[in-house]
């Protein structure tokens, strides 16, 4: 296990460096939070929606397919290390395994599971209302940092 000693010392050094930097920053930096500063940053536009809690299901699909491929890769590494001993048996085993994964991959692809293409339908934009003007969407901030309410 002594081979891992340098990794441990590097881990400690990296943590100390990061923590020390934060400490130095906390001591040196000013701290004058205002409501405008600690609001979510949207380039001066007042956020009118909460951040989305749901995102497209394709991201979940990617995560699931990744797990399948990651497991395949995990099996590939020990196989690659001792491949010269396994010889033909190892090759046939891995070709069969890769084919099994590949068949499911083909099925996914032909279902369009990994197809991100440009969206061809346009979504209804509920935010396009007559009341939505620059007065209601642009945040105006005074010199002292307070938000100025729209007139």
């Amino acid at each position: 296990m002594s081979e891992y000693l340098p990794i441990l010392t590097m881990l400690v050094l990296a943590l100390v460096f990061a923590a020390g930097s934060f400490l130095a920053s906390a001591l040196l930096a000013p701290r004058k939070p205002t409501a405008a500063k600690s609001a979510p940053y949207e380039c001066g536009i007042v956020p009118d929606k909460e951040p989305a809690e749901r995102f497209p299901v394709r991201f979940y699909l990617v995560a699931m397919i990744f797990i399948i491929f990651d497991i395949e890769i995990i099996f590939l590494y020990p196989w690659a290390v001792i491949f010269r001993q396994l010889e033909l048996f190892g090759l046939i085993e891995m070709v069969v395994f890769a084919l099994a994964v590949f068949v499911s991959f083909i099925y996914l692809i032909s279902n369009g599971a990994l197809d991100w293409g440009p969206a061809r339908r346009t979504l209804a934009t509920t935010s396009l209302t007559p009341g939505r003007t620059t007065d209601s969407t642009v945040r105006r901030i005074s010199r002292t940092g307070e938000t100025i309410e729209a007139a």
Binding site: P6, A24, P51, D115
Partner: protein, 403 residues
Amino acid sequence: MYSKREAVGSVTLAGDPLFGGGVDGAVVLIVLLKTGVAFAALMVSVLFMVWFERKVVSDMQNRIGPNRAGPWGTLQTLADGIKLFFKEDLLPEQADRRIFRLAPYLSIVPAFLAFAVVPLGGVITIAGRETRLQLADPPVGILFLLAMSSVAVYGVMLAGWSSGSKYPLLGSVRASAQMVSYEAALGLSMAAVVLVTGSLLTSDIVSEQSRSIVDWNLFRLGFLPFGIFLVAATAELNRPPFDLVEAEQELVGGFHTEYSSLRFALFFLAEFMSTVTMSAVMVTLFLGGPSGPGPDRGFPGAFLPVFWFLAKLMIFLFIYVWLRATLPRLRYDQLMDLGWKRLIPLSLFWLLVLAAMILDRRYGFAVFGAGILLGLLLLRAVQVGQSATDDAAGAAPAVREAG
């Protein structure tokens, strides 16, 4: 064939000669010294890389670039870093405070650790103890590299998720999908190197390539794994043209939009450090690490190999800057298509062809032919998939036109 396995096995047990005779006080001191030197070298290389990138990009755009702090502006990065210490550190009110604070650590620590297993040179002697110019040589070297590049995904994902803001969330969801997609291609092309070396030790991978330039894995593996690794590594690092994670026009600053002051500085540091580390990994895996272009003459001085290593490293650092100055950003669907529909099947195919070629040329050609047929099947599947998506989209009426 079997004697080779035993040779590899004995190397696995030996590892770094420093630990051959157990761990005593002197060994611990040498380890601390090496850690300090590696840490300092990494920090200096990051400072250099940031300056180098700004200078080369500005040259390519007919600008001058930083030229005030220090000779040729070399101290500009340091000045920027010191400035960030004095900047206000904002904590957004909607943020998940604990995770918001944790994320920069998860980003910077793997960047430091991954560099530890990269061999920088031959064996040197410090105070009568022989040791490699390599911080650590654990028996799971390659797996350790993969693990660190996976942990770095958490830093990006948690930073965006905990910010409690729209754009960081979108940036981090994109980032994690992108990074896991390209990690698969990265792992598959790395497996090809493990296959021909028969060992997970980075020092074995380097010594296996040290005989002459034709033994470099770049040539031995037939360029393809190297090409895939280069593309996948660029995507894994979120470097242009794969920097959709921080696409300014769409996402403000991406996952670190809400980060300011030193927390931002650490993300920035981690990003450039990962670039240096990933370039070093590419040199190790495919370009023979610290070995020169000729046959290995037993490393006359400890620093000639270091010179070769740095020379090769510079090639990749320049390539990254060059890519940034040249190529426009990919669209998200192009990014995912490139990763899933091209790089992953291609790298798996080439890995199996290489394995078959090691046994017998005939098996190799058989696997190659079968792979071409399956590739055609994949192309057909892509077509079917696209038309299925188009049909689904066409079935829904275009709302804006109707209203």
